[in-house]
């Protein structure tokens, strides 16, 4: 028997386009509560936390809660009612009926004390355009809004300060079970984006960076990564091998950081980890299908050089030869740059987390880790699964963000609308020449 766990054929999704309040788990044990997103769900044991995790490959709910553990591995078609509040009379804010579910208790989220009764995973989230408001602080609540789609072309959204990062869903595959038991097919539901970890700092008032023809990759700083977007995780989770590459860039030891336990839904037992911080992370589209794609760190360096030339054109600045084609600057790729001290958890290559996020059929490029909700704190995020021809992550920074904390840079110069061109948030009245 082949069982599709994403949904039943007669699933019914009831929601009202209004925001649903979410709690947040700690980013790390004892850390700030800006980590994994937690809704509340009805179980026979009362209202319990439900992890909302875009990186989790299935939907799970232990109908009787997780106090006594579930019956791991059993699937059923059931209902999931999201509620605001913990009393029996708490308002129902969304109902997902006849949904394919695992009777499975996930691992704790953030710390050992935060035990969800289930996970609203990628297969369920991918029915919507999911909007998340993720405040940087804990004084305002996080919210989730379910829409059927999110309006606006990438160009229009760019004018409004959003970046659109396109992706193709990953994570599909057959999950083998015990001998004689039915096999399970998991749908593609995981968002994987390219990222540049720990690039150097940048300012338009710094000296111009020279870049001759063919030096695009040479001028890149930071380390290229492929990262899943995981709203149920807290820190930036990296595999040991990915961290080793970054450590070289940052001049740190391979075993830098503080040893501790990482709690994620992927494993009921804590995952040994080393905790440290990186200064910044630039997140790009999944560029694997883009022929003009040079890799996230090379694209970041190029975008910064183009931004520098535009910001300094009054002083006679020109585009670097490696960024010019036919006398004009080539288009840059949109990116979201997150800064400050970003919490990182480095875990083993063989951990359940890293193995799980690399399940793909057919195999696809290695995923190095997860961008957790704590890393994304301070953003307004839309996971627009319904967009065509590819899904898109639409992101903007929380009002009042500084450039060091969060910045968005839509594609330049591909933003011509109504006869004007916007690049890096500023109109471009004229284009500087390419440097000789």
């Amino acid at each position: 028997m082949l069982l599709l766990v994403s949904c039943g054929e007669d699933q019914s999704l009831t929601y009202d386009l209004e925001a649903i309040q979410l709690a947040r788990a700690p980013v790390t044990p004892g850390g700030t509560a800006t980590g994994g997103l937690l809704a509340k769900v009805s179980t026979s044991a009362g209202i319990q936390p439900l992890l909302v995790d875009s990186a989790y490959p299935l939907n799970s709910l232990a109908p009787a809660g997780c106090a006594g553990g579930g019956a791991p591995g059993w699937t059923y078609t059931g209902n999931m009612d999201l509620r605001d509040g913990e009393s029996a009379a708490a308002p129902v804010r969304a109902s997902f009926d006849h949904v394919g579910l695992f009777d499975l208790c996930p691992g704790p989220a953030g710390d050992a004390a935060t035990q969800p009764a289930g996970v609203m995973g990628g297969p369920l989230l991918s029915n919507f355009a999911v909007g998340f408001e993720l405040p940087r602080g804990t004084d305002k609540p996080a919210t989730m809004t379910l829409w059927p789609s999110f309006p606006g072309s990438d160009e229009r959204l760019a004018q409004d300060g959003f970046v659109s990062l396109r992706f193709n869903l990953r994570g599909g595959g057959a999950a083998a079970r015990g001998s004689g038991e039915p096999s399970l097919t998991l749908p593609n539901s995981r968002i994987v984006l390219a990222a540049c970890a720990a690039p150097r700092a940048f300012s338009t008032s710094e000296p111009q960076e020279a870049c001759a023809h063919g030096e695009v990759t040479l001028r890149a700083s930071g380390q290229d990564l492929m990262l899943a977007v995981g709203t149920g995780e807290g820190p930036l989770i990296l595999s040991q091998s990915a961290w080793q590459r970054i450590a070289v860039t940052m001049g740190l030891a391979n075993d830098a950081g503080t040893a501790g336990d990482l709690y994620t839904p992927f494993s009921t037992a804590p995952t040994p980890a080393r905790f440290l911080t990186v200064p910044r992370l630039a997140v790009f589209q999944d560029g694997t299908t883009d022929t003009s794609w040079g890799g996230p760190c090379a694209e970041l360096a190029r975008a910064r050089r183009v931004e520098w030339a535009l910001a300094n054109q009054a002083a006679g600045a020109c585009f670097q030869p490696c960024d010019a084609s036919g006398g004009r600057a080539v288009s840059t790729h949109a990116y979201l740059e997150l800064g400050g001290a970003l919490d990182v958890a480095v875990i083993s290559e063989t951990s359940d987390v890293i193995r799980s996020i690399n399940v793909d059929s057919p195999p696809k490029p290695q995923v190095d880790g997860i961008i957790g909700a704590g890393t994304l704190a301070g953003t307004r995020l839309r996971l627009d699964y319904a967009a065509t021809p590819q899904g898109r992550v639409i992101a903007a920074c929380e009002d009042g963000s500084t450039r060091d904390q969060c910045s968005t840079a839509p594609s330049c110069p591909g933003l011509s609308a109504n006869g004007r061109t916007l690049c890096f948030g500023q109109p471009v009245p004229a284009w500087p020449p390419a440097c000789k």
């Binding site: 009202d16 605001d84 308002p91 129902v92 829409w147 229009r156 300060g161 903007a396």
Partner: protein, 490 residues
Amino acid sequence: MFNRSRLLAILAILFVSSGVQAGPLDDAHVADTGFSGPTTGDLTAVYWNPAGLGLMQGPQLMLGGAWQSTSVSVARASINPPTGTNPGARNFPTASGSGTLQPFRWPLGPSGFFGIGAGIGHRFGIALAMYSPFSTKLTMTPTADGQEPARYHLVSMELNHIALATGLAIHASESIQIGVTPGLLFPTAHMIFDEDTALGDATTGSENASAAARYDLATKGIVTPSYFMAFGAHYRHGRLSLGFSYTSAPLGTSGLVNLPLDNTQVRLPAYATGGGAGPDLCPDPSTGNCLAGRMSYRLPSIYNLGATWQVNKNWSATAIVRWLRYGALDKITILVAGPSSGTTLGSSVPDHVVLYRGFQDSLDLRGRVVYETKQFRVGGTLRLETSAVPASHVNAAAIDGTKIEPSLAADMRIWRQIRLSAGYAFTWMLPVDTGTSVFDPTAAAACTNAGGDLSTPACQARMNGQARPSAAGTYHLWRQTFSVLTTIAF
């Protein structure tokens, strides 16, 4: 020799002509008002029944259009100002509205028909056609004292769907043809309505004009089309012809049409600025429209059944039944995105609006008699259509009831292979008294008080778009249609 002045006269007629609308969206007279149907063997079969293309002989070209004028009146029931419920101390003057559909504009308007095709060797029929199966246009006029009684349901709307379809028919046997029409549906939309941002606020009062935010939503240019399929069969035995066809709703989207609204503006409520007209959310048009919207709604699938009895050489009688599956049209969902900074959109004014429809299936019944000679033919049709909108669901944006429509059409050969047909139809809707309106202005506040609990009737009403000002009242609609169609058979 063909008379040049006659040709100019024909063209002049074509350029002032338009179609008949039935139901809330349906054009009941695609191509013409008097002769087409599921048993017809000409290019209009691309719409009516693709199997009819198998009856064509030789090449054929058809060009025509219709001029359709719709008039409505809305006599709203009084409301209680603090709650907005019926009845109460506040009365409304009768509002009137009108809309004229005609095809000659860009993007191409509704009520036109262009087809070209050929019957090939009594084996195949093939055709390409452009027409508008679904369209509606209505603008409500402010009353003499400046009131807009229907503003919370409709200020103005124009929804058009231009179909570009290819039809193919084959002879399965001497008496049976089967056909198929795959097609693309190009939608355009422009909709204006007000949102009461103080609904349920007893202090401001329901339907307080100073709390009305105006949504002006429109598509820009040609948007990505939906696609549909039609299938049909035609049987002829002796004097009897039977035709049956099915036209799908948009495929691949569960019948949904998803429209990007790239010309979107929201005018903020006047009270936000202390009086007068409210400012636009995007005040500087020179920098481009900062809002983007998206609208989704469903279209019906349609079953057609027709029978024609050739009484003698000159006389024939036709009966047609159309079953329009409006039952799936539950609501129109509108989403708006604006600048990433600032909180006006989504807090002071909503970034999403659901307009309840709750339509039901309708039946379109026609009886037709045609007298025909070699040079001309004349026909009379009586059409009766049941309502696609339950009375309690009727509002200014969805006015429908039982309709009666007599029509006359004439067709004559004007020069060798050229025929010209013209028709006139008058549609009268039996007045609709909504009784208790399905729209409940108290539901918004009740739902808020319930914490947004979707298990409560108030929040289900809000979710479905029924938490809006009442539309209770009496509605009238009448419509005139004049159509002209030229057929050139080579």
